[in-house]
Structure formats: C-alpha cells, structure tokens
C-alpha cells in the first residue's frame, strides 16, 4: 500500500478520498488554490500545498504545479477525484512519467473513451448498442442542419471532449438551433480546449441509467449494478437512486453484461461508469463512459457494501477487486440528493455565497458527504456543491421516508441559496414516489412559480417574532441556550484576552 497520496481536487470529493486514505492508514496531501486556503479538504488532510490563484486553470488544472506538489511532499500516487484532471489522459501520463501512480484507468483508456465520437465507434465495433447520430464530429451549423434533416428533432448537440453533463444542449425546435450550436462550440472550446462537437438523436422519453464497473490489473472485470439518474435539470443529474425502479431483472442482467464488455474493450482498470440511455421500451444505448469515480458513487456503495474509493486505491496499489461478481447482491435501496448552492425557482442557476448557519442531518440510514463547513464560502470559482445527502432503506419507500426526514433536519442560511426546497418538493411528488419518471420529469412536473410556501397563523406568529427580534439585534449569538441553568456563556475569546492581560 502507498504511504502517502496526493488528491488533485477540492470540495467533497477531496474529503471523500482523504477519508478512504485515512481508513487505509495512508497519509494525504491536499492541494489548494488561494481561495481554498482554509477549505474543508485542507483542514482534513495531513499535508497541504498551495498551487496557485483561484481560477482552476491556474491552480487545480496546472499540471506542473500539481506534479511538483506531489514530488515535494513525497506522495507516491495521485487521486484525481471527479472533474478537473480526472478524465485528462495527458495528466495521467504526466503522473506516470513522474514515476508516480495515477489512481484510475490507464491513460490510453481515458484517451479512447474521452473522445466521445471515437468512443461511439469503438463501442459499436464491440457490439454495444449506440444512439443514432452523426458518425463523426461536425464543424458548422450547416452540417448540423443537414444531419437533423435526416434524423429529425429533437437532437442533442454535444462537445466531443465533453462529459459530466457539461458542453451539451438539447434542441427541440429549429429556432433554438443557432444559439445551441454557438453555446456548445464556445463552451467546448473554453471548458475543454476542443471546440469539436457531434449530434445525437434525442430519445423521446429516455431514462438515464448507468452501470458501475470495477476492474483490476489481474483480469477481473466486474459490475456493481445500475444507478438511475433521470432526475436532471440543465441536463445535469441532481437526484439518483439505486436500484432503478424502471430496470427489470432481465434488463439489469443485460446491461451489466454489456457494461463489462465495454470495459474489457478498452482494457479498463479501476472504477468507471458506462452511461446508457434507455427508451420507454427498455431498449438501451451506450451514451458515454466516465473513466473516473462519479459524484453519485455513494448510492452504489450503500447498496453493495463496497467502498469504491478504497477499492480504487487498492487496485492502483496492485490489489484485486474485493469481491467475486457472484457474491455481490443489491441490498436495500439508496437515494442521493445533490445539495447545491443554486436557485431552483430561477432555472436552477448557481447561487453561491457564504454559509452562516449549517445544520446537517444525522441518524439512521443517512450519509452526508459534505465539502463545506459553517462559516465557509461556496465560491463562484468552482462547482457550487454543498454536499451529497444519501439515504439507505430496506426498500425504496423507507429510503424516501428517510430522505424526507433528513431534508427536514438540513438547514443552511447565509448569502447563498440552496436547492433543499426542490428536494423536499421532489420527495412529496406522487410520480417520483411511484417511481414513474424519466429525464423529462423536472421540466414536466416542477413549477415553482405556482407553489406557495404556506404558513399557518401560529407559524407566522413565530417567524414574525423571530424576524422582529433578529432585526432589533436583540439576540446576538453566541449565547447560552440553557438560560435557565444559571450559567452565563462567556466568550472563550474574552476569557483568553483576560488571561493574556494578566500575563503581560
């Protein structure tokens, strides 16, 4: 096993990897931009190295600085997390060239799966079904129009180098085509440094279902069943569950086998995910492979009992997949709600800011992977995730009940806006509760403008009294809540000041 690992990431996934390392007795090195000097992942690590100014391209995406940080701290391996360098074959190669271990697939597999157009071709050749669309990349709006005339609206325009829901636009009407092509090409260039894009048929009522795979260097290729990721806004996942209520045992078996075949086709190593689109008739098509750990990996961990990040590290150190395919079962049900600093009432736009009060859910069946702490900032430089709230239950109904309960305990206040109310709405939505939804779900069902918060007279009286007291500054925290105990809270800082004055 490694003695020390550098984590080339930030936020909750950096903390997640640090936790896995600590459980394995491995020391951790955090890297941080100037905006993250006191971020949670720095607090949790054993070592920390500054790698540059806040913009990611100058810090978290600066290859020489990251490699140098690993060298200076004696790290033997680098875990990329998700995002940033996680699917960058050049970085993976640079790590290997520096004599260190990249915790993830071999650079070649990243490269082949990273070009979405090449990946489509490769998968088709391996007998994996793919979505109808352009055989290769397109370059002009005219080419797109020509293809669309053949396959018809709706279509998805996707960056060839994209992934993770970024650099893509769905177009239903001719009038939106220009703006979508412009956006994707521009986003692809600025985000991935590669302006090429391609076009796929947008399936009528698709489910976004993915299969987790895990492979080692000893010829073991396994899958850990599916995740249902159809609850999406802005083409990005926001709630996931495992198992999928839409997947039948027969479909599960078929998708698992195809996923393993896809992983074998690129001689895959470590954890990865095959994303499929599944239509209303349960036909499934390869969409892309994510050659990294994914945001939503915890639901698979809760249902299978396997720690995927620890498995990644052990496999990178030469170990084996820690189970046989035949031993693995789906036990119970898990749901993940991604808690973001974003505003669901205004198109889910990011709404970062400072966190003044943070109250996190706990108790049975609740896992919360958090990347922030009270008093910290959700920075506009990075992904506005606050935490991933995951619940487990013996069945879907218990998992939903626990999520509803956990959401009721979760409170965030400050200059940011959160999507907690969206999740609360979802957990009470009849179609969600029935498990009858596809990727169109949020667009069809979520109408925040028609929803009133609603408060009865007693609640109103309580909140107006609190608002009144707060606006008069009557109660300045921190104060003792146990006012009746007769013990007055005294600031530790005041005490410390007094001690010091005695000393001088």
């Amino acid at each position: 096993m490694f003695k020390r690992i550098l984590i080339a990431n930030r936020g909750e996934i950096a903390v997640r990897v640090i936790r896995a390392c600590r459980e394995l007795g491995v020391e951790t090195v955090a890297v941080y931009s100037d905006a993250d000097r006191a971020a949670l992942h720095v607090r949790e690590a054993d070592y920390a190295v500054a790698v540059g100014p806040p913009p990611a391209r100058e810090s978290y995406l600066n290859i020489p600085r990251i490699i140098d940080a690993a060298r200076r701290t004696g790290a033997e391996a680098i875990h990329p997390g998700y995002g940033f360098f996680s699917e960058n074959a050049g970085f993976a190669q640079a790590v290997v060239d520096a004599g260190m271990v990249f915790i993830g697939p071999r650079p070649d597999a990243i490269h082949r799966m990273g070009d979405k157009v090449e990946a489509r071709k490769l998968m088709a050749a391996a007998g994996v079904p793919v979505v109808p669309g352009s055989p290769g990349t397109l370059e002009t709006e005219a080419e797109v129009r020509a293809l669309v005339e053949k396959i018809g609206f709706p279509v998805m325009i996707k960056a060839a180098a994209g992934g993770g829901g970024k650099g893509m636009r769905m177009v239903e009407h001719e009038k939106d085509l220009s703006s979508a092509v412009r956006s994707v090409a521009s986003e692809a260039q600025s985000s991935f440094g590669d302006g090429r894009f391609y076009v796929e048929k947008y399936l009528s009522s698709p489910h976004h279902i993915e299969v987790q795979v895990l492979a080692d260097g000893h010829g073991n290729f396994t899958h850990l069943f599916e995740r249902e990721c159809s609850v999406q806004r802005r083409n990005q996942k926001v709630v996931e569950e495992s198992p999928s209520p839409f997947v039948t045992p027969k479909l599960r078996k078929a998708m698992g086998e195809v996923a393993v075949r896809a992983a074998q086709a690129v001689d895959y190593l470590s954890a990865g995910t095959i994303e499929f689109l599944v239509d209303g008739d349960r036909n499934f098509y390869f969409m892309e492979m994510n050659t990294r750990i994914q945001v939503e990996h915890p639901i698979t961990e809760l249902v299978t009992g396997i720690d995927l990040v620890k498995a990644q590290i052990e496999i990178a150190a030469g170990g084996r997949v820690p189970f046989k395919q035949s031993e693995l079962k789906q036990n119970g049900w898990a749901i993940e709600c991604r808690v973001y600093a974003e505003d669901p009432e205004h198109g889910f736009v990011p709404a970062p800011g400072r966190i003044d009060t943070l109250r996190l859910p706990e108790g049975p069946g609740v896992r919360n992977d958090c990347g922030v702490y009270e008093g910290s900032e959700v920075s506009s430089f990075y992904d506005p995730m606050i935490s991933k709230l995951v619940t487990w239950g013996r069945d879907r109904s218990e998992a939903i009940g626990r999520m509803r309960r956990a959401l009721s305990e979760y409170m965030v206040s400050g200059t940011l806006t959160t999507n907690l109310n969206f999740h609360r709405w979802l957990m009470d939505n009849p179609r969600w509760i029935a498990g009858e939804y596809d990727t169109r779900f949020i667009n069809q069902e979520y109408h925040p403008e028609t929803m009133a918060a609603g408060a009865d007279f007693e609640q109103l009286a309580g909140l107006l009294a609190a608002a009144f007291a707060a606006s008069r500054g009557n109660h300045r925290p921190p104060q003792t809540p146990a006012a009746n105990s007769g013990i007055q809270r005294q600031s530790v800082w005041k005490t410390l000041g007094r001690i010091d004055s005695l000393r001088r």
């Binding site: 970024k166 505003d343 736009v349 709404a351 003044d356 109250r359 007693e458 609190a466 608002a467 009557n474």
Partner: protein
C-alpha cells in the same frame, strides 16, 4: 410596535410587544399569540407558540429577511408606517421596463446586442459564464435596448443589472 409585514408577498397587520426577556406578544391580523423565543446556534432561533415548536435560521437578502425552517423558506419584510407609504407609492412606476439581472455572480463572456437595437421576445442579450456554464440571458419581451450596463470580461454580482429593455 406596529408593523406592516409582508410574508411571501402577502401583507399582514402586525403588532409586537416584548413581554419578557424571551417572550413576545404578537398580534397578527387581529389574533393574539404569545411567543417564547430562544437563540440557539449561529443565527438560529427556536420559537414556541403555544405547544408548537418552530426552528428558524435567519439570513438577509437586501431589506428582506429569509426565514429558513424545516418547512421551507419564507421571505419577510417588516415595515413601519413611513416605510410602507414609501413602498406603496414608489413601485410599479417601472411597468413595461425590463431590467435584465445576473442570476448569479460570474463573468460576462458575450454581449449579443447593442444599445438602441430593437429586440424580439426570447432574444439572447448577454452571455454570462459561472461555474463553467455559459448562460445566455434572454429578454422576456420584445422592445428596445435602452442600456447595456456591462462589457465583455466584466465580473458581475448576483442581482446586478446587465441591460435595460423598454
């Protein structure tokens, strides 16, 4: 103390009297409640109204108070009489005028129109990048661009006015 309280857009007549160190008498639209209030953690309060408990975290947005509880978020504006008059006379004068505001902090990466230009409803006006996503902000209604307040490369704050269309 008498107030006009606006909670989630609805107006309420409010009278509040501090009757003890943690107690308030609240007269709300003619009904009276005694509220026992304790600060707990950070900017949070625990309110007891009769036997019901309400746990609020409080934050501010402009002049509004956001009351965050397990039941959701309520937006509260407290106004005394002077203030209420001001609000009543000052608003709605800008009907027909559209202020395009930044929904999030970010950077302007493109300005698609010019001042003076006629625009159609749904036409893209400004592109703002935040969190690596580019967002094309569109005008909800047709009209004439009165003013473009930002330029390419400029950082913008949440709520900042980017353009005005009339």
């Amino acid at each position: 103390m008498r107030y006009q309280a606006i909670v989630d857009g609805a107006g309420h007549e409010l009278e509040i009297e501090e009757i003890g160190s943690n107690s308030y008498r609240v007269k709300l639209d003619g009904r009276t409640f005694d509220v026992d209030l304790r600060p707990t953690h950070g900017s949070s309060f625990l309110a007891l109204v009769g036997n019901r408990t309400f746990d609020f975290s409080i934050s501010t947005e402009g002049d509004d108070l956001l009351m965050i509880s397990r039941r959701g978020v309520n937006r509260v504006t407290l106004m005394d009489r002077t203030r209420r008059r001001l609000a009543a006379s000052g608003e709605r004068a800008v009907a027909g005028r559209v202020e395009l505001k930044a929904m999030m902090p970010g950077r302007v990466v493109n300005v698609l129109v010019k001042a003076g230009q006629e625009v159609a409803a749904d036409q893209g006006i400004v592109v703002v990048e935040a969190m690596k996503m580019e967002n094309e902000l569109k005008t909800p209604k047709a009209g004439k661009v009165v003013e473009i307040k930002v330029s390419v490369g400029q950082a913008v704050e949440k709520g900042e006015i980017l353009a005005v269309i009339e």
